[in-house]
Symmetry: C2
Subunit: 154 residues, 2 copies
DNA sequence: ATACATTTAATGTAGAAACATCTATTAGTG
DNA sequence: CACTAATAGATGTTTCTACATTAAATGTAT
């Protein structure tokens, strides 16, 4: 459905306003779809994001602050997200030797197993994007990167 | 900055995964920017969304359920958002004559005045999109519409 | 008309986000 | 070295979100 129908707004100030609203609307929609898939596995999109980052370390420990840097949502409280993963035995935590302020986090076998179960969902989810070509996808990614560029402007 | 740098991920499974992450990351970034602008006026993006919808009615009352339909975030609790606007004298509420279950909501002069103050911020915010052409904006909007199409697929 | 289902909005509640604060540790400077 | 600043992560608090439930009004079917 078109964004016009979805939010019942016939006119937009400009194609840019329309795009801004569409970006927000579509992302909320995508997140909701993801939330739905994950629900039966008792994991939130944010927790999944952390797990995915942990797997990306391929066995190496990673500090909480470095997880935050890699998060999609920088303002999320990584400490508490890790707590949740710990409580479910999806991650392990140990104090870092070289810097005793820091905490090393590693994914557990159980965490890896859960990701393996979730992978097909994510792939399906990403396959929605197959309606465009790889080149188009790259192009739009480049445009989004550009949008975030002039930090000092707004 | 590129999404690779922003979330410190060098490789992506596909251009589609990259686009999916970029969409989520960019939207969170946009929302954060909006939140920052609104903060000094003591209004949240969600409350602003409702106010904008009320203004769009051009003086006509609108039911709570119809506001929800027009919201970017369908799962938000419109009842309580309207409460907040009421408490700040930005909206008025009166029971609907034709259906006594329903409640009519109207924006106040004070609400309109606040929107007038916020408009320039929103315009600046939307002007970020000027780095792409109107045609490109329409193109991306069309793609986002398409993404949401096969409801039954994922 | 009665009974049951649906709709509309409000409310209760658990959990999460946003933001500030606190403690421990490390880094930097005179 | 002593002192201050900076950093890492945990925690407290308030607000918001997500979800379920409730209450009243309306719609529908027999």
């Amino acid at each position: 459905m078109s964004i016009e129908t979805d939010i019942k707004q016939k006119k937009f100030r400009s194609p840019f306003q329309k795009l801004a609203l569409n970006l927000m609307y579509t992302t909320k929609w995508l997140e909701y779809k993801q939330l739905e898939s994950f629900k039966e596995y008792d994991i939130t999109p944010q927790q999944y994001n952390v797990l995915r980052i942990l797997r990306g370390q391929q066995g190496n420990p990673i500090k909480v602050s470095d997880i935050t840097e890699r998060m999609l949502d920088k303002s999320s409280n990584t400490s508490r997200l890790v707590d949740k993963l710990l409580a479910k035995n999806l991650a392990k935590r140990s104090s870092c030797e070289s810097d005793r302020r820091a905490v090393d986090v590693v994914i557990t076998e159980e965490g890896l197993a859960l990701l393996k179960v979730l992978d097909p969902f994510i792939e399906d989810w990403e396959n929605r994007f197959n309606i465009i070509s790889e080149e188009e996808a790259e192009q739009i990614s480049a445009l989004l990167d550009k949008l975030r560029e002039n930090e000092n402007q707004a």
